[in-house]
Each structure stands twice: as structure tokens, then as C-alpha cells.
Symmetry: C2
Subunit: 468 residues, 2 copies
């Protein structure tokens, strides 16, 4: 495809996306087709000779778009949002078009340097502690997801806990990782990948009211492990748990980690974006104790997946844990020690130029634009929660400090599960669920840039009337 | 950014990329600016209020493009190629625009089903064994990179080698991984991440002529470990090593793995694409013995990073190794067992709709288009190698079965390193190096779709004249 063919086809694809966005609100949020519908409609292989882009766009309309869960739909309230935006899509398009590999500084200098600066910009935007800026021994990097951030934090923590032996000898002791009962499943997954096993994860109790980690229970767990000869390696605290957006008490947890010399990783995958608003930075208290921290611009900061922003206070353990230097990657810039090679900050070797989409988003919206985005969703969540609170049939299941509201029917689990099924079957909204203190709980997560007050009010009307 | 603003800005960005491609051949392949040039030119943070896309495009021209290593440049012969193409960029643009998350079948049904079908298409295109198709107990999935493929293969292998205990108890024995001295650095990295340590990796000798793994040395290493009470868990064989594209003897290695019950992973990251041509499938002999296999369409099959295609013969160990099911991800489709949830086939939870770019590439080029692409590069490599062979000053350092030619100056390492520096300083070409049997060796890897015979001939003229 030569540049002129690309220009023509590219305009057509841009138009297809613009039309998709313009009509998104009229589509059902989810597909009702059974498993296998798409696969059954596809041929057994590609044709011998090529087909035009127009044939692909026709099949996008006929086959693909009707069988999606539309995450950007104004009625999408499921999971956590994975919102994107026009500027993000365009920044990522430039990345695809350049097709450079940022594994080493030398393999694409601007890719590395723009990423370092964007992570510094984000650190400033969120008011993160100075220690995470690239000007000292720390700095930031883009990971694909908070799962991978937790994994690399775990590996750096193991290396540190072993006194530097781990990378040679591996897991030769009973290292332990700690998180609360509300911590994300990726914490257990990271511990398993790192060779600690599920047994290596200590699940710490939470305060039953706030659902935040109980620091006394953490201290007790660490002491018990030390007494048994185990090695406490990492605590993962959460700002904004996936189930209900609970906020762990990082100041107290940080003090315990400091006392026992345990790595503290703070996972703010969803709620980190809230810190762009000064009035929501209370949620990030105590972060100066953290060895590492991450949040996902791809969740609630208008940047398309994949874009997890991950910082370390000191990159030495991370790089020591992950670096392997074969001859074919050696180069003068790396040998000089004057540059950062981000391949040593992550699991894969290769890396896309993902800083571009952040650059596009941060510049196109500006600081106030991003704050307005977060504030509008928090206000919509407040509004929805007020409706729930005012209706005797409903119970608010947890605090709602950000843009997620958790609620259930007073009539019990069966009624709540039935309600979820009923409202999702309309195709007008999509909600998911969790369990809070064992009870089936609906989650309404506001995050699509297209979601307005009218959509949230419609969702409430639909839910209230379906509740019977 | 509303759909109409996106349409206008999107056309401008497409035009910027088309113009970039049209002028690529006139740019220096690499930047000569020192570290810090880009960072120093950027402001301390985003503006309070947004800026237009035109400002971003202007800064792409002024700041970013001049400080890149241009991987798509016709004179880029470094590392392995990471070639992309118009159809790939457009498929990825659709993925960005849809902004769906394929972590579960239910979270975006078409994302999962198109991926399954595309991996079946690719398996057919490469003539892979039936056991890797989704119709049986195996199947394929897209990973970000071959590094991650090796990691998840290692985890599945550990789970199997432990008799299913690993995911509970972790690394509680001395598990061992095997690869050759020419195996990729990501194999040691995966073993380290998995908690085996560098000591857990057995580096097996190669035949000094072919640089392929010596099966007798592998057998000896496995026997020694068994005698010491260690647990052989995984062998990683390579089709097309990074240093010189050597091909390990997979039939013999597979027989040894079968005899000792060791997981066989075959890494064909670069050379897998060659198997689209029937005349190059000799390189894939013995693959019916493999438990897992991967190659990177993002290296030599016109698909932009990230797109590693990874297959397992039986997905049960992989899923058992990686699955964690929190309440908030439970859904009727997953509970039914009728669908694949790819989150359990990879490290991260979230996932982009990466099958779209494959679909666009496979359909736009067609089978014959892809074969012509690979064949033209193999022919160009043959042509370049013939020039090297015919010149007494040069030595071909290794066989060149695909599109990489390794060569050095007979005058010695210092002369060879000097030659590399000299030709790269011209900005007309970019080559990287390796060491073969300890000797400094230049690598000329052909992969850019823009590279024609004229570019390869120019590269030779430049090299030959710089050799003095």
C-alpha cells in the first residue's frame, strides 16, 4: 500500500470511526448473539489475492460491530471504564504510522525521552511525591496494564528482599506478598507468575465499614510470617479497589512497611486519575512511603488501552531484576550510562511509542479539561447515589468517593441478580456486579466521555422501574 | 472532541503519516543528536487549557521525527525488522476507535472470536500442525511479544512439571529451563521472572558450523539435572536465532523432550513468517513435537507491533497456570464453559482488539501477496550475500537461510567495528552487530516493505567503499 493509497483508505477509516461514534448511542450496548456467531460467519482463510479496504469496512459493519460490547457507549457502566478519546486515537495512529521500537534509547530516542517527560508531566498533574520524578533516582514508565505493573513491582521487591541474590538463585525461600481481601486478582496472579504460589499471598482483613485494609491485621500477618521464618517481600495497597473503590490507609500501611523493610506498591489503577483534581488528592495521602505506584490513564483519563503509568522511587532494583544484555543490543549510548533503556523496566523487550497518545491527550484537553472530565463523572455518581439513597427498595452497598456506585435491592441477592439481568437485557445500559460482604451488588461505573446527566438519569429510571 | 472534529483532525493525521512515508527515504535513518535533546525542548507540563491538533503535528515535525531511528526506512537493516504496513495501521486505527476490551469473551465477543479465527488462519498459512488449531484442545492467542510468549509457556510448563501443585506452592524445587547459547535473552528473563533464577537456565552448546543446538548436549544436560534431583521443566528451541537465524534441530529436540516429559516451546519470533512460503517450511520440521510455538507477525509479516502469535497444543495447563476468577469478572458465558476468555492466556488482564490489524493485513495482501513479500526479502539477502562472498576483504559469518546476512571483515574485530560505525554515521543505512564465535559481526537484516534491490545495492556500495 503506497502513501497515496494509504491516504485515501485512511480517510475512509477515519470516517468510519467518526460515524461509529456519532451513532454509538443508538446501538444496543451489548450483543445478544450466542457464542460462535462471528467465527461461523468467517471464511476458512484469506483469499489468494488481496481484497480492498472497502470490503473490510463492510464486514466491520456487518460482522464485527454488532457483536461487541461497546465500551465507549454512553450507557456502558460495567467493570471500570476503559475510556478513550479522539486525541488518544490520533496519538496512537501516529505511533502506528511511525512504527518505531522503543526498547532502547538508541532504537528510538524521542520515544524514550517523550515517555520520560510525559510521566513527569503526569506526576505533576497528580501531585505525586518528588521521589517519583525522573530528576532523582526514580522515574516513570508506561506498562501495558496495572497487572504488569504489579508484576514488575513484585520482581523488584523480591530482588531487594533477597539482598540481590534472587536474580541468580530464584525463589529459594518463602517470600510473602500482602494485600487486602479487596485487592485485585492481578496481585495473586503476579505472585503466582513470580513463583510464590497462591500460598505466598497473605490476604489481609478489611474494615467492614470502609472495606479498606486493616493496618493492625497487616502488622499481625507480617509478624507471624517473620516468626515462621518467611520473608515479607511486598505489600500491595489499593487506592480505589475494583469491587467498590475503597481506599486503603496508605499512611499507616507505609509506616508498617518502613518498619519491617517491606516494598510498598500502591495500585491506583482506576482512582489515580482522580488526583488530577486537588480536592480528590486526599485519596493519595501517604504516597511518599511508596516504593512504586501505578494508575491507568486508559481507565479514566481519556487515553486508550494500553497505557498504565508506573513509577518507582528508585529504579535500581527494578533494572537489576529485569536486565539481561545480549551482544546484539549493546550500543554506545547504553554503555555510556547516560540514557534510560525502558526494556529493563518491563517484561517484554519490544515497545510501542505509547507516550504519543498521552502527549496528544494532555495537550488537547489541558489541565482544566482533564479536571472537568473527572469532576463531571464524580458529580454524576453523586447524583445517581442520591437517587438510590432516596428509594427505600435500594441499599447503597459502599461509600462512593469517585465515579462508581455500588448498590443492591433490599429484597435480597436473587432480586438483585434478577434486576441486573433485566436491565442489561434491554441493551440500553450495561452494568456488572460484585459481592460486598457476601451480598450480590450491582456496580454502576461512570466513565464514558459520551455519558451525560441524561444518560445517568435514564439509567436510574430503567433500574427503578425494573426493580418492580 | 466530537465526531466531526475527529473527522477533520483524523484526515490531517492520516495525511501527516502519508507524507512521512513518502519522504522517509530522504531522511537520515538515525538521529545524531545527543541524549536529552527532546526532553530539553519540552515544557514542564501541559497548558491549563487545550491546544489544537495542528500544534501537535507541528511539534511532531520539529521535535519528534528528527530524533527517531526510522524503523520503516528503506535503509533500516538493524536488529530484526519491525515492519508495518498501511493495512496494519488502519486495522489498528479501527481497534483504537472501537476502544473495546477483550479480556473476556463477554466483554467484547467479536474481539475474542476474530482473534481465534485469525490464529487459525495464520496456522493454516504457515502449515502448522493440526494440534495448534482451535478445533481441538489447543489454539492460538496474540501476545504482545515473543518474550511474553516464552514467559507464559514457562509458567504452563512449571504447572505441568509440578503435577499441578505449582500454582498453590510456587517454586519449591529446582526447576530447570534449557536453551542454546544462541537462544534469545528473553528466555533467561522469563526464567528469572518465573523465580528460577539465572542458575535455573541451562545453556546448551551449539554445533560450531550451523550454530544450532546440539541435541546430544541437551540430553546430557537433562540427564545431569535429573541425577542431581532437579526438575527439567521446559526446553526452548529456536527457529531463526536472533544473532544469526540459526535453526535448532526441532525433530531431535522434540524426541528428547518426549522421552523425558519436558515441555517444548519453539520460538520462531522472526523466522516464523518464512513458513508462509512452502519452500521455506523445512525450517519448521518437527513442530508436531512442540507444546507451544510462537512467531511475530510484527517482525516480518507486515503487521505493526505488538502482535506475537502464540499457540499451545493443549490450553489446559496454560489456563490452569494463569487463571484467577474474582467475582467482578464472573458472567454467564464464562460459567457455561462455551467460550474462551483470553485473559487466562496472558499476563495482563486487559487486552486490545489486536486481531483487527491481522485481519486487515491478511485480507489486503492475500496469501500470494504475503509470500511475494517474504520471497523478495530472501532474494535480496541472497544477492547481498553473493556480493560479500565475492569480495576477499569480507567473510560471511554464518548461513543466511532467511533475510539476515551476517558478515565481518577478514581484517579483524577492530576493523569490523570501525566499518559499522562508519556506515551508520552516514545516516543512509543502519545496521547492528552481534558476535559469532567471539568475533565482531555485522548484521544486515532486510525487512522494511520500502526496501528494494536498489537500496540493498546502495548498502553494499556504501559498505564496500567504507571498508577501504
Amino acid at each position: 500500500m503506497d502513501p497515496e493509497e494509504f491516504r485515501r483508505a485512511g480517510h475512509a477509516v477515519v470516517d468510519w470511526i467518526a460515524d461509529y461514534w456519532a451513532t454509538l448511542g443508538q446501538r444496543p450496548v451489548t450483543s445478544q448473539d450466542p457464542p460462535g456467531t462471528v467465527a461461523a460467519a468467517l471464511p476458512a482463510g484469506p483469499t489468494a489475492h488481496g481484497e480492498p479496504v472497502s470490503a473490510l469496512l463492510a464486514d466491520l459493519d456487518a460482522l464485527v460491530a454488532p457483536r461487541l460490547t461497546h465500551w465507549q457507549h454512553p450507557g456502558f457502566f460495567g467493570y471500570f471504564p476503559a475510556n478513550t478519546s479522539g486525541p488518544s486515537v490520533l496519538g496512537d495512529l501516529v505511533s502506528s504510522g511511525l512504527g518505531v521500537q522503543g526498547m532502547l534509547w538508541a532504537s528510538a530516542p524521542a520515544c524514550t525521552e517523550l515517555e520520560t517527560v510525559m510521566l513527569d508531566w503526569l506526576a505533576g498533574l497528580l501531585g505525586l511525591p518528588e521521589r517519583f520524578r525522573s530528576t532523582g533516582s526514580g522515574g516513570g514508565v508506561i506498562q501495558d496494564s496495572a497487572s504488569s505493573a504489579t508484576l514488575v513491582a513484585t520482581l523488584a521487591a523480591l530482588h531487594r528482599a533477597s539482598g540481590g541474590r534472587w536474580r541468580e538463585v530464584g525463589v529459594d525461600r518463602r517470600y510473602r506478598a500482602y494485600t487486602s481481601t479487596e485487592g485485585h486478582s492481578s496481585i495473586e496472579k503476579a505472585a503466582r507468575i513470580a513463583g510464590l504460589g497462591r500460598d505466598g499471598v497473605r490476604v489481609v482483613a478489611v474494615d467492614p465499614g470502609t472495606l479498606a485494609m486493616d493496618p493492625d491485621a497487616l502488622r499481625t500477618a507480617i509478624r507471624a510470617d517473620l516468626a515462621a521464618g518467611d520473608v515479607p517481600a511486598i505489600v500491595v495497597a489499593t487506592i480505589g479497589t475494583t469491587s467498590t473503590t475503597a481506599v486503603d490507609p496508605v499512611p499507616q500501611i507505609g509506616a508498617i512497611c518502613a518498619e519491617y523493610g517491606v516494598w510498598l506498591h500502591v495500585d491506583a489503577a482506576y482512582a489515580g486519575a482522580a488526583a488530577v483534581c486537588p480536592e480528590l488528592r486526599w485519596s493519595h495521602a501517604g504516597l511518599e512511603h511508596a516504593d512504586s505506584y501505578c494508575f491507568d490513564p486508559h481507565k479514566w483519563l481519556l487515553t486508550g488501552f494500553d497505557c498504565d503509568a508506573f513509577w518507582v522511587a528508585d529504579s535500581a532494583d527494578l533494572v537489576a531484576a529485569l536486565t539481561v544484555l545480549p551482544e546484539f543490543l549493546r550500543n554506545a549510548a547504553s554503555d555510556s550510562g547516560a540514557v534510560v533503556d525502558y526494556r529493563d523496566w518491563q517484561v517484554p523487550l519490544g515497545r510501542r511509542f505509547r507516550a504519543l497518545k498521552l502527549w496528544f491527550v494532555l495537550r488537547w484537553y489541558g489541565v482544566e479539561g482533564l479536571r472537568a472530565h473527572v469532576r463531571s463523572h464524580v458529580a454524576l455518581a453523586d447524583r445517581f447515589a442520591a437517587r438510590v439513597r432516596a428509594d427505600d427498595r435500594f441499599v447503597l452497598a459502599a461509600p462512593h468517593p469517585f465515579s462508581l456506585v455500588c448498590f443492591r435491592l433490599a429484597a435480597g441477592d436473587e432480586a438483585s441478580a434478577g434486576l441486573l439481568e433485566k436491565v442489561n437485557a434491554t441493551g440500553r445500559v450495561f452494568l456488572t456486579h460484585t459481592r460486598v460482604a457476601g451480598r450480590f451488588t450491582l456496580r454502576l461505573a461512570i466513565g464514558s466521555p459520551l455519558t451525560t446527566q441524561a444518560h445517568v438519569d435514564d439509567a436510574w429510571e430503567l433500574i427503578a422501574s425494573a426493580a418492580g
